[in-house]
Amino acid sequence: MTLLISLIAAVICTVIWYKNAPDNTLRVDILCWMYWGASLMWLADAIFEFAELKEEYFAPAPKDMLNDTFLGLSVVVLGLVIWMVILLIKDPKGVIKKALLRKND
């Protein structure tokens, strides 16, 4: 389930990146790299788990599935938080700089 959620996130981010290319001001590529990297690594994990569990791999216990779903969603949110922090630090549009240097307010 974690692999599935991270793969969905990777595909969505890649579509967004492709739609906006060549404009990459919001650095969506960071999200693509993160989610694809994690998805490929979890794919390796899934291959070994499948080799061990065979068809049982596709019928996880509801409790495990819920935990994996929660983990997958948390991973996606963590990726978004990391991306947002990088974006705010790099500040490609100069929004933070302008806000800090604004004399009024």
């Binding site: 989610y35 490929l40 990726g79």
Partner: protein, 136 residues
């Protein structure tokens, strides 16, 4: 258990290699003669190797960070020494090493293979782009 440590080690090596290649490329660019118009045209369609290495670096670090979170989630990584819970028990430690040598190595191999695929596609695109001006 500690499978993500293998791609993490590869990520560290890739980061160091990227820095070295970047420095070498910068030195080569500075040393190139100013009137080399043809080489400039070739450089315009050729992606620097350091940029290609950054693709691998980004894939590895991105995956490692999210997998580190997964290991913290499962209680396999802790913020105190020895950081990996499996290290406190010799049996668990041997299981961890086994997992690193199987799952961890496979993770690194899959990511690297995908990167090699990206290199093949990008070199094909580069070749097409370098041929395109000659046709006109």
């Amino acid at each position: 258990m500690g499978c993500f440590l293998v791609p993490a080690a590869e990520a560290i090596v890739t980061t160091v290699v990227t820095k070295i290649v970047e420095k070498k490329e910068a030195a080569t660019d500075n040393a190139a003669p100013a009137g080399a118009a043809n080489s400039e045209a070739v450089a315009a369609v050729k992606i620097p190797f350091s940029r290609k290495l950054k693709w691998l670096r980004s894939l590895l670090w991105g995956g490692v960070v999210l997998l580190l979170f997964e290991h913290i989630w499962h209680g396999e990584v802790v913020p105190w020494f020895p950081f990996l819970t499996a290290m406190s028990d010799p049996e668990d430690a041997s299981a961890m090493l086994r997992e690193m040598s199987t799952v961890g190595v496979t993770m690194a191999v899959i990511v690297t293979l995908v990167w090699v695929g990206m290199l093949i596609v990008s070199s094909m695109v580069e070749k097409q782009a370098s041929k395109a001006p000659a046709k006109i």
